[in-house]
Amino acid sequence: MTTTEIARATVGAPEPGVPTLAPRRAAAWRRRERRIGLAAAAPAFLIVVGFMIYPVLFALYISFNRTDGEDFSWVWLSNYVNILADPLVHQVFVNNLKFLISVPLVVFFSVIVSVLLFEKIRGWRFFRFVYFLPNVLSIVVVGVMFKGIFGYNGAVNSAIVALGGQPITFFTDGNLAIWVIITALVWSGFGYQSLLILSGLSSIDSSVFEAAALDGAGWWRRLFSITLPNIRRELGFVFIINVLYTFTSLFGFIFVMTAGGPGYDTTTIDYLVYLKAFGSENLGPGAALAVLLFLFIGVLTLVQNRVFRIQDED
């Protein structure tokens, strides 16, 4: 602010900026600024074009070819046909659908936690810190940790044994293993999401609550007719990113906890893309699967944006 005042004093103009310059010089000056701007944005733009946009197009190209990475022969849609007819892909897709159970769980926990933290319960800042804590840890750390906790000699089994039960081998049964991974997912995910919802709650006009309280609306009534409708944008967002997570971000958990096994019982689409990309002679089907995943994510985002009317409100 002081710079502004000094500038005003020295230039003597009522408005800061360039109006003291002649219009033509101002235009030239603005063109110069736009050129400098282009030069400043260029490095970031070129890196993103070279290492994100070009690779996406390249992936698209690979998906229409039969290739080992060096020789390419155009095969039209046969990789896609191949992928869509592959029973393994069907099985893996069903696995992904099982992982979707984590979405309502994460949304449920994060809504409850954020609504209660918003009440400024004693120690809420500490709770917020603790709930957020798993978020700074790598998926690798969380995954290996849960693998240990649910391992044969882990904490859970020693608790079961202490209570008189038989130890459970969680990772030899696909469905049990999926539950362990979902637990890890919810454990590490809900804190961040409740922060997102909390920021939505803070932006609700408090006079609405006051008016409702004056009208005699109880806590539950206020929750369902004021609080939740007012954060539907955040709820929609949290819902979307969790669905996307289950299709794109399980790789780390699967890689360190089960390696997709037993068999392919815990393999997810993102893990299968990795397996196909680095474990097969023809790279085309892997690329086709990745492109399909990308399309699926795009469509999902569009549909959910419609459903939650996120764009209308912004």
Partner: protein, 277 residues
Amino acid sequence: MTSATLSKPARIPVFIGLAILAASILFPVFFLVIAAFRTRIDYLRNPLGWPSTWTFENLVSVWNAYGAGSAFLHSLFVVSIALVLVLVFATLAGYSLAKLNPYGAKIITGSFVSVMLVPSQVLILPIYLMLSALGLIGNYASIILLYVATSLPFAVFFLTLSFRAIGDEVLDAAKVDGAGFFRTLFRVAVPMAMPSLATLAVLQFLGMWNELLYALILLPDDTKRLLTPALSMIGTKLQNDQPLVSAGLLIAASVPLLLLAFTSRYVVEGISIGSSK
């Protein structure tokens, strides 16, 4: 304020519920830290119990003999360089898009926004082929480049919003004073955007430090491994020696946990602010 709408008696069970939930977060972390300091025999005797002896043996051996130490240093090296590059490029681009209305601004912004949703699975195959054609697989330059590229879209978006919040009159005043582009940016705009830059730096650091997939495929040599792939190997190879694995986890988690401890209010609130924009 009116946010305190729960009645007094209702607050006690709610507090207890939240405390139990907090305990369920803290207990596994606590269990991990304790396990890292016990001997294997002591752990197997009673995993849930209190250790009878304390030892630094696990930390020392996982750091030296199992490669966690060198992996830690490799990660620190790669992430530091990538972080500096991201911050520099994103500051330049973010300031430009926010204030300078550069030629092609729509195309530039559009391309950043359009790649933000791209999952890494789509990129791994073409990136691997491109970098191996360039002979960069197994070279730290490849992973640094990739971390910079994949971090930039969000970083630029985030900083564009921050720079936009700075009033034009301040910047114009600096220009009228005769400050050129770099002077205006680094003497006026950057200091004003410091809180956002710090938040961004912490978030990006965590993202890169914790990344697994690219680190796994771009640095296949055992001698060059970053921390997350090294740790996943340790977790598989030594799964019957939980104290040793825990020591490795502790080494990997130490940096993010320290970072969170020192910058928590910053990060936690930064995330809330960043997301509401």
